[in-house]
Point group: C2
Chain length 115, copies 2
DNA sequence: CCTGAATATTGACCGCCATCAATGTAAGAG
DNA sequence: CTCTTACATTGATGGCGGTCAATATTCAGG
């Protein structure tokens, strides 16, 4: 039940990679998981809502209504976003609070730039 | 047979959107199409190969071998990337040359930043 | 026109995914 | 301990998506 960490070297290259290399098969597979997490309209909206929240975090009950989806479906999408490293989950009492994983969106932008 | 243009207003907002809004349903659907195009390992490798090419463009025959995929499958992936606005296609003689669509990757980075 | 080469399209198969109903789990209230 | 609330998990279902074989199209050469 662990959330497969997408093992990430954080900043493997200081800035820009050699720029002459081509994406390998398994590297492509890892990065595709992140984009697959972003490839669903409802998950994009989930990220947008969480980001727009002033407190920086939202509970599941606040996310169910605006998407017009069932609670199990929302939990499913949130799990996918957490597994992809895009969201963080913190449980306080009965509630589960989700927030943007720090630097996650920048990391995705870096993937695009380096491709 | 037209390639559904993903109708794109280019630069609808000069720079940054209001930043207080939340992603709407149909806006999320449009943007999800782009990420869906990026959500396949082989398509990520296609983009990487095209980008790494010194001439800036590649023909299908050069893309089939490194991916270890059949020619129809590669053409199918290329069509998805073109429809998403990520690649450009130019046919010269019997060959079809694919190149990165100008500013496409920057646009995706912008989507992430504005979310 | 005919042939061959490069690419696109079609049809079919199969696995993955989004969704929901039902159930399970965990924590606070009484 | 019991009940309720908030969330996660399971199982089932319908549809989308990646892949290939076969075929169509388009173009250059003879």
């Amino acid at each position: 039940m662990n959330a497969l960490p997408i093992l990430e070297p954080a900043t493997k290259e200081a800035c820009c990679p050699p720029a002459g290399t081509v994406l390998g098969a398994e590297a492509a597979k890892e990065k595709a998981i992140i984009f697959k997490a972003l490839s669903d309209p409802n998950r994009l909206r989930l990220l947008s809502i969480v980001k727009a929240e002033a407190s920086g975090e939202s509970c599941v009950c606040d996310l169910t209504e605006p998407l017009d989806l069932g609670q199990p479906t929302v939990s499913h999408h949130l799990k996918i976003l957490v597994d992809a490293g895009l969201l963080q989950r913190e449980k306080r009492g009965t509630w589960a609070y989700y927030s943007l994983a720090p630097g996650a969106l920048d990391k995705v932008a870096g993937i695009l730039a380096n491709l």
